[in-house]
């Protein structure tokens, strides 16, 4: 581009969404720990309620600290805006609840975080929203599962835990050909490794609990809209394109065009479901985002070293990481994830479930817990934890074996991580042999 330039990613990660506080000059983002905001007068109050003026009314709907996080993530992703939520799961629920009613249908990848699988496969079904799960590796699978009442295609940018790389451009093409939006869970990739909107996704969300925060101290989610999906043209979303008696008879698309989805999600979804983010949580996640561009390269660098070590270890049956040449999505990963395939991956230990359990219990640096994306290295056994509600058949479809171990590689000295893994692997095999 000849002419003006956009600020770089690193600059946006530190600054987007916040000017120094006009009241105090505070350089750091102030924590506006308040539930509500004083109106200037009655007319001002009425104008805020009727959306004639911008501003904050009640912190369930919006809050100045939370708004900084929302704007910053939207800037990093290239979206029109964002809504921060109580968790990543709340973000997924907010997206679904904004777009569909009972009788609607979703086509989703079958390689999902277990919580997402539960929400779509069981909980939403109770409210009349059905989901068909498909293997994400073949975009045509999504096309074949679309029904007249389908309203959303959904997948993770990197499948959990199989690390399938979603062919975002191809699946987006399938969605758009059917007049549908594509929602992706971009938690594993973060905007540092992939910007799904640049590849055709329409909506995305993060479990901000993971890499965005990076510190493992706060639960949160962020739902981002690209503003590119034309709800009016699709004709399938009266929720956004017809007067809504639940909010001043507003036609959200007519009212705000590119902002229609977020407008309804905020004005109905946060108002009624109430899964908002607390301002202190937003502050904590912002502290993480300010170093995202420094942490992610180190996460990837350490992961590559650990993967290389494990792939050569005789106690390891298989390592699943898209940067390995034998991964089925290796070529796609090189195209969509040139900066790296993240820091979460799985491997299978020889000796099955028992060897896997002993391996985990022998680790000293890696922490055994149910999370990923922390600065500290983490480990878990998906079949008995995150994916324990899934049937064996569904587990197999998601690429999870009984002995599969998932690692989230942190920012420690890679040599220490490798030493820890090597010793625990030796313990796991020695014990198995003795039996």
């Amino acid at each position: 581009m000849s002419g003006p330039k956009y600020p770089g990613f690193d600059t946006l990660a530190l600054h987007a969404g916040q000017s120094p506080d006009p009241a105090t000059g505070s350089r750091a983002v102030p924590v506006y720990q308040t539930t509500s905001y004083v109106f200037r007068d009655s007319a001002h109050a009425a104008s805020l309620f009727n959306m004639e003026r911008a501003g904050h009314v009640y912190s369930r709907i919006s809050n100045p600290t939370v708004a900084v996080l929302e704007e910053r993530v939207a800037a990093l992703e290239g979206g029109v805006g964002a809504i921060a939520t109580a968790s990543g799961q709340a973000a997924l629920h907010l997206a679904v609840a904004t777009l569909m009613d009972a009788g609607s249908h979703i086509v989703a990848s079958n390689s999902l975080y277990g919580g997402s699988h539960n929400l779509l496969g069981y909980t939403l079904k109770r409210f009349g929203i059905d989901t068909t799960f498909v293997a994400p590796g073949t975009p045509e699978n999504f096309a074949q599962a679309i029904r007249p009442n389908t309203r959303l295609l959904f997948a993770e940018t990197l499948g959990n835990p199989g690390l399938e790389v979603l062919d975002v451009p191809a699946v987006a093409q399938v969605a758009h050909a059917a007049g549908l939006p594509l929602l992706v869970d971009a938690t594993f990739t973060t905007p540092y490794l992939m910007k799904p909107f640049e590849h055709g996704a329409d909506l995305l969300y993060h479990s901000a609990t993971k890499f965005l925060g990076g510190h493992g101290i706060a639960i949160g989610g962020v739902l981002v809209d690209s503003g590119r999906f034309d709800w009016e043209k699709s004709g399938k979303f009266p929720q956004l394109t017809a007067p809504y008696s639940g909010f001043h008879n507003m036609d959200f698309e007519e009212e705000s065009g590119t902002r229609a989805f977020l407008l309804r999600a905020r004005r109905e979804g946060l108002r009624d479901f109430g899964a908002c983010m607390a301002p202190m949580t937003a502050f904590q996640i912002l502290q993480g985002i300010e170093t995202l561009h420094l942490r992610m390269p180190r996460h990837v660098e350490n992961t590559r070293k650990v993967v290389q070590f494990l792939a050569a270890n005789p106690a390891v049956a298989k390592v699943v990481y898209p940067e390995l040449p034998d991964h089925p999505n290796h070529a796609l990963a090189k195209m969509l994830l040139p900066r790296g395939c993240g820091a979460v991956f799985t491997f299978d230990i020889k000796g099955g479930r028992e060897a896997g359990q002993r391996f985990i219990e022998a680790l000293r640096v890696f922490s055994h817990l149910a999370n990923v994306g922390d600065a500290k290295s983490l480990v878990i056994h998906p079949a008995s934890t995150t994916h324990y509600r899934m049937s064996d058949e569904d587990l197999a479809k998601a690429g999870v074996g009984a002995g599969t171990v998932r690692l989230s590689v942190g920012l420690e000295d890679a040599a220490d991580l490798i030493e820890d893994l090597g010793r625990a692997l030796a313990v796991s095999q020695r014990t198995a042999a003795q039996k």
Binding site: Y6, T11, E71, G78, N249
Partner: protein
Amino acid sequence: MNFTVDGRQVFAYTAAHAIDPAKATVVFVHGAGLDHSWWGLQSRYFGYHGRNVLAVDLPGHGRSAGPPLATVGELADWVFRLLEAAGLAKASVIGHSMGSLVALECAARQPARVERIALIGTAYPMKVGEAFLDAAKRNDHAAYDMETIWGHAPQVPLGSNPNPGMWMYGDMLARLARLAPGVLYNDLKACNDYAGGEVAAGKVQCPALFLLGRRDQMTPPRGGLAFAQLVQGAKVIQLAPSGHSLMAESPDAVLDALIEFLRA
């Protein structure tokens, strides 16, 4: 609300109110490549406070059928045909950027039908850089980038949006992404080619407000101030933090200025 103008369906936002010929009317005219929703907060306010609002999608923009009209004069004449289609005799016309030139031409062409004009983010002449025009002509994304970056104050990408949770750059880029090829070029060329400013300014008989952003990179305020001097009795307000997208960057200040101006 849809209307038929020149045999084509066109759209104007009315804040969900029926048109009442007994009420005063405010027409909002957007700038290059944009649509009615650019006026979201301001147009909604007047629609809910006793006035007819017609926040138009100019032909070929938003929900209005194309093709886009090529000159500021044609756009001004179209505004009057829209008023007729809506059963309205007169209106105040508020325009942003390209739309500000349309507002001026409306006041000059049919003074009896224009009660007040407000020109927001304006300058005359409204020359467009050769590189910008050329990129738009080629439908090169660089034109969208220039519109986005120059269309806001320099601090916008690092600052905070008055509209909670929104990202101004992303919003403008998403709007431009929906444009049909050639529309942005059409609009920029209309601005660049407009040459009747001095004559039109001399014909203005109604009260005029110039609302300028001190940090406007697209139509720098010195151009707006010089333009305002051509219109007798024009009132000028400069908003310190704003760039070219005043309605988004300083929505309350713009609304307050318009309330005061239209009330006077």
